[in-house]
Symmetry: C2
């Protein structure tokens, strides 16, 4: 991996001086095009050995390019807001929007490398993290991003020489501390771990560029030229970046499916409803105050046809909670800041802290439901969304988030009744729009999409609960009961959550994570 | 203040049942109008005594209204990200956007009340906080917000009764803890402090509504009706909400001003420039690693005509910093999330954490410069902006942020030279736009706006440094030197920063805060 970066590359002063103005002009031009185009977010990861010129390179990029269209994203110790969310949350929140360049000083590679060097994670765990990274980067590229990963390499002697040189120069001496010298001792270990990780994350969609770090001019020029070439080629490539997806195939010979199997006649009379409501609301209130919830959080996802009763069910849950403990996110059209990001970004941003809950009224499943059926996104996009969604929910579950998903199923006849009833009752009238009536025409297409969704995204960590919702009483109690049982089961089965990182210490998620994965070594 | 809330108001079951459907329908309609209108953010503060029904009221509002257009904003212990910013940052980051309702469970009143009850702040300090709050709310209202502040009141006996009733009901017993009973002991103290604070924050633009909290139906109906009336009246009122401002008056009889006094002939030759650059960059690097900077942060604001050299100066500062320690925010057109907020919101969101710096390439002064001169905002808006900006910078300074502001002044002739030169040099060509040429026509109007800006916003905590920028060498060194000297002076004068809250313990900012303020008692 590193051999070609130990050749002793050098660029002379004169050659450098000649090359820079042209490179700079071209980079600026590409930046302007990128910003005007507003389709491609650019992620530039600057990583590598200590003293190999990471900081200097970032400064050179700032010198050459226009700071108005770029940002340096630095990650030191996670804040408490970050520690109480899935580990990737801190990167999601800082992703550069379309049209801009984000320079990552530190990235999702930093923690796995450090943890492996320190012996905190096994090689197998490192491989699992690598796979997670590969999928994350694939998602970014599929969403239009250009991902450039630089690794600056130095030989051991080269690193020693560089630290000495930095120390000798009064302008840079402050950069060298005992910490840097100590890092020299772990040189071989870092080489090992980084070499392994780089190899298995050296994907076609986001390959590594290993750069010899010893010569400032060579390193700067190389990074600049690689960045320029990548920008230009990506800007010229008007075809969407698409990883292969298999078309949706369904075997449905007898017309029966998970939805048709539901008994929509299930009912609950008002009297027992009131009793059960008090019972399960009380239970939910208790569970949310359980000490074991302090290191975890809850995400409730509600999907269902119009008038299926999502709002009413959410209010029954909310009624049992402290207003300071939860938020309801009613998913509407994305804002322009959200549109400039991968489609899951607007859900990531609302993930709750430990001890808190977020209830989503409509969710990230919009892509495989309404966007699919209404043709609002390409087939390729909704087909890959299943995997991305599973990854998203898996990352939540792994960090101790209890993910509970409800599909509220009503019959077409019941929906019609409710639409008519709403038109009668003044204070609900506004809820019926033309779109609602139109959606009814696509009932069958929606049923198909729902079945596919359940089949592909009902996972061990985040199963779907299908709710027979023709009777509101029945539906609400089933939802409350399911929620309580899930919380209880999670508390019972996986009590050991490391509050510091929110990562579960049990085997279950790890097993899930590695399921079906070939060893990368 | 509380007398009218001790009358023993009650609403019967029948009257309540009759009133609610109409109220609910009207509230929903108002919400839809509000959302369609997209001009008014609504802030509903739910505060008052413990057990007076704050949580219940929020739940009722959720039951009556559409959760898609509202959010509950809860504030418990500040997170470390919040603690490392000015105290108001956590409220700014959660302000509801235009068209939406934010229900505040806890607000900027919570801390002052608690701190005063605990004796952490003096009455004088409480008054200063109240004045800060009044100005903050005035800004919100001027920016189009509807601010509704509810205070739920109970008599001491009423509070006792209510806690007992909650405890007796198995559905609500869990809400009552020892903490609640302890609060009863501080009843009188709370009455005192809240009474005082409410009185001096009972402004015409954001008055308090004190509601008797004993009867659930009365309380719910009152809040609902007040909210409805306020929404309707605000939606009907198409005139902008404007607090009075005095027109700009300038005495400028001899044509001399702070800009004309600058000696734009000041120069620095390349040799001494290189020497000084190394010296001050080294010094800056030291200061940024000073232990006293760990509990503080730095905000650099750069303003200047096109081609004045802001970018070059910023790069010279950045060159002395660790890329992980700073970010450059190049202020561009606001996003739609930013446009849905008060004009200062998009700057608040970028304030640095302790030990970090944010360098703004163009700033919050856009409103009193380009927006004023180009007529992009009403006179009323830029006239009140001076005060809002001073408040903003004062809040930063008070929290230990070092605010350093540079105006880079060049002559018209020099600007023309630079424009021409840029057109020659390929890699800078993109920077010259038609707008740049057009802006030159308004040179005099801009000079006037700059002089007004300096006069009104060069404060003790955040003074302007006018930089003679015709010679880039001279300008860059002056900027670096000024920055170093400011940091040094801040470290020397105000070393005691309480890292926990970031609030300075010295007298200086407090003095500034109360300057010219009448006693509120």
């Amino acid at each position: 991996m590193f051999e070609s970066a130990e050749i002793g590359h050098k660029i002379g002063k004169a050659a450098y001086r000649e090359a820079v103005p042209l490179l700079r002009a071209a980079l600026l031009e590409a930046q302007v095009d990128l910003f005007a185009d507003k389709k491609i977010p650019v992620l530039v990861l600057i990583s590598g050995q200590d003293g190999a010129g990471k900081g200097e390179t970032i400064n050179v990029l700032y010198e050459w390019m226009d700071p108005r269209f770029m940002a340096t994203l630095a990650f030191s110790e996670p804040t408490d807001e970050e520690r109480e969310r899935p580990p990737m949350w801190r990167y999601w929140r800082q992703l550069p929007p379309k049209g801009r360049i984000g320079i990552f000083a530190g990235s999702w590679y930093s923690d796995p490398i450090r943890e492996r060097i320190q012996g905190d994670i096994s090689l197998k765990e490192l491989d699992a993290r690598a796979e997670q990274i590969n999928r994350f980067e694939a998602m970014l590229v599929n969403e239009g991003a250009l991902v450039l990963k630089f690794w600056f390499h130095l030989t051991k002697q080269g690193q020693k020489d560089r630290l000495k040189a930095l120390e000798a120069d009064p302008h840079t001496a402050w950069r060298v501390t005992q910490w840097n010298w100590d890092r020299l001792k772990t040189y071989d270990k870092l080489q090992d771990v980084a070499g392994h990780l780089l190899r298995i994350t050296n994907t076609p969609w986001a390959p590594w560029v290993v750069v010899e770090g010893a010569d400032d001019r060579y390193r700067s020029l190389t990074v600049g030229q690689v960045l320029l070439a990548a920008l230009k080629s990506r800007l010229a490539d008007t075809e969407p970046q698409e990883s292969p997806v298999a078309p949706m195939v369904r075997v449905d010979t007898d017309g029966r499916n998970v939805l048709s199997q539901l008994d929509l006649g299930l009912q609950l009379a008002d009297k027992p409803y009131e009793r059960e409501l008090a019972r399960w609301q009380g239970r939910l209130a208790e569970l949310m105050r359980d000490p074991r919830f302090k290191g975890r959080s809850l995400v409730c996802a509600f999907e269902g046809a119009d008038a299926a009763g999502k709002g009413g069910a959410i209010r029954r849950i909310a009624g049992a909670l402290d207003a300071r403990q939860y938020q309801v996110i009613a998913v509407a059209a994305p804002t322009d800041e959200e549109r400039a990001q991968p489609h899951l970004w607007r859900f990531w941003r609302h993930l709750p802290r430990h001890g808190h809950a977020t209830i989503f009224d409509r969710t990230w499943y919009g892509r495989v439901l309404v966007e699919r059926v209404e043709g609002l996104c390409a087939e390729h996009d909704w087909l890959r969304a299943y995997t991305e969604i599973n990854d998203f929910e898996h990352e939540m579950a792994e960090a101790g988030v209890v993910v509970v998903k409800f599909w509220l199923q009503i019959s077409q006849a019941e929906q019609l009744e409710r639409f008519k009833a709403r038109e009668q009752v003044e204070f609900k009238r506004f809820k019926i729009t033309e779109e609602d009536w139109r959606n009814r025409d696509k009932w069958d297409a929606y049923q198909q999409a729902i079945c596919d969704m359940v089949e592909r995204t009902s996972t061990g960590n985040a199963p779907w609960t299908l709710v027979e919702a023709n009777d509101k009483n029945y539906a609400r109690i089933k939802i409350l009961r399911t929620l309580c049982e899930r919380l209880q089961a999670e508390f019972d089965n996986t009590p050991q959550v490391d509050a510091a990182v929110g990562r579960q210490k049990t085997d279950k998620p790890a097993k899930h994570k590695n399921a079906g994965k070939k060893s990368a070594k």
